[in-house]
Symmetry: C2
DNA sequence: GTATGATTTGACCAAAAGGTCAAACTCACG
DNA sequence: CGTGAGTTTGACCTTTTGGTCAAATCATAC
């Protein structure tokens, strides 16, 4: 493995190619189903060459996952406590939906990992993720208590946003099989906007 | 493999044990990640003994999946066109939520398969599943046109029920990591009931 | 242009995994 | 209680797979 010194041009190119190829393969086959050879070929490298850049399959997976987690929580982080409550939540939902459309591989990598019990990221979930969610739930609860949005279980509200948006990436093949030629992302935003407006509009504004 | 004649007592017992063990292993590791040895051990059999009952790993997987699909669509089939619209949809949602709670392994097996592109059940999705959904969408559309429930995209309505309910099974580990000791299924039914009542109650009844 | 470190690869290894088979064992039934 | 069908398994085979290594090739700074 190359030293931790300044990476060369070739190192940057190959590392990026490997991570991209690994995202492809891991997201469509899962960790155990992916083979180092397949990743190497997808990256345009030989297997020993790939192992020159990463010491093991585990290490590749960890690197891809770390890179993913880094950006995966950004939409929630961006929820602004000083914004207009309903619009903030809707904007968060739309950002997540964008990510499902634009980064489906990332979503599926994450789904694969969680469905199989999250053996490699359980810690991050119960520390970093939980902390972030707890923080934002406090914000949402304050909005509810102030009557700015309707009272619903805030954690389940967030789960619902995760589940509805990621469904379009993770279950893409099923959604398309049922929907036929219609683009899932054509009607999804409006449907979800309607759903959350009706759920969260406070009673006195109905 | 035993003949297709009347199965013996031992055959029934072992086949059942194998299918149950396979559901365990496939749902938590995916097809490629599961090993025949692991399934055999979980079923209390030796590997050659397991292969006496099923000719291959593929065959076991196919059997488990077929058994699953058989029951997976029952809740939707039971949607009654002559029932009270909103209550019918809520009842469907509750049946799906029950399944997520009571059959999480089945849900995760399904999720694993779909996330990885549904290589083995794509046909069923675009024929049987699509046909069933099309049929029920027609019913829902009629209810909407009659003003008995609010107008929303009926396909996305069904996707939302799938996604919200199965999330509690498929992403169980994440939900619990965020929620802490609280039982996810304690608040989920009420949350979802509220959500769909607000989404679907027709405007003139609001 | 050449020395030096970075990069690449063919050949190889050991472990894991799907599957086979003949021989041994068990069970149900007359 | 013996017999044939049904069941089980130890030993084995082949392929796949993660990973190693020494030797060869390449890039680039001097």
């Amino acid at each position: 493995m190359p030293e931790a010194r300044a990476p060369t041009r070739i190192q940057r190119k190959n590392r990026a190619a490997i991570l991209d190829a690994a995202l492809d393969v891991f997201s469509s086959q899962g960790f155990r189903g992916a083979t180092v050879d397949e990743i190497a070929t997808a990256a345009g490298l030989s297997k020993p060459n790939l192992l020159y850049y990463f010491p093991s399959k585990e290490a590749i997976h960890a690197a891809v996952l770390e890179q993913l987690l880094d950006t995966w929580l950004d939409p929630l982080r961006a929820l602004d406590p000083s914004g207009e409550p309903l619009e903030e939540i809707l904007a968060y939902m739309h950002r997540k939906l964008q990510m499902a459309r634009d980064l489906p591989r990332e979503s599926r990598l994450f789904a694969n990992e969680i469905v199989q019990g999250a053996p490699r990221i359980h810690d991050v979930l119960s520390t970093d993720l939980k902390a972030l969610v707890d923080e934002k739930v406090a914000v949402i609860r304050a909005w509810m208590d102030a009557g700015q949005i309707a009272q619903v279980h805030p954690y389940h509200l967030i789960f619902s946003i995760w589940s509805l948006t990621q469904h379009y990436a993770d279950f893409d093949v099923q959604v398309r099989a049922v929907l036929g030629p219609e683009d899932p992302f054509a009607a999804a935003p409006e449907f979800m906007e309607t759903l959350y407006r009706r759920l969260l509009t406070p009673p006195d504004q109905a």
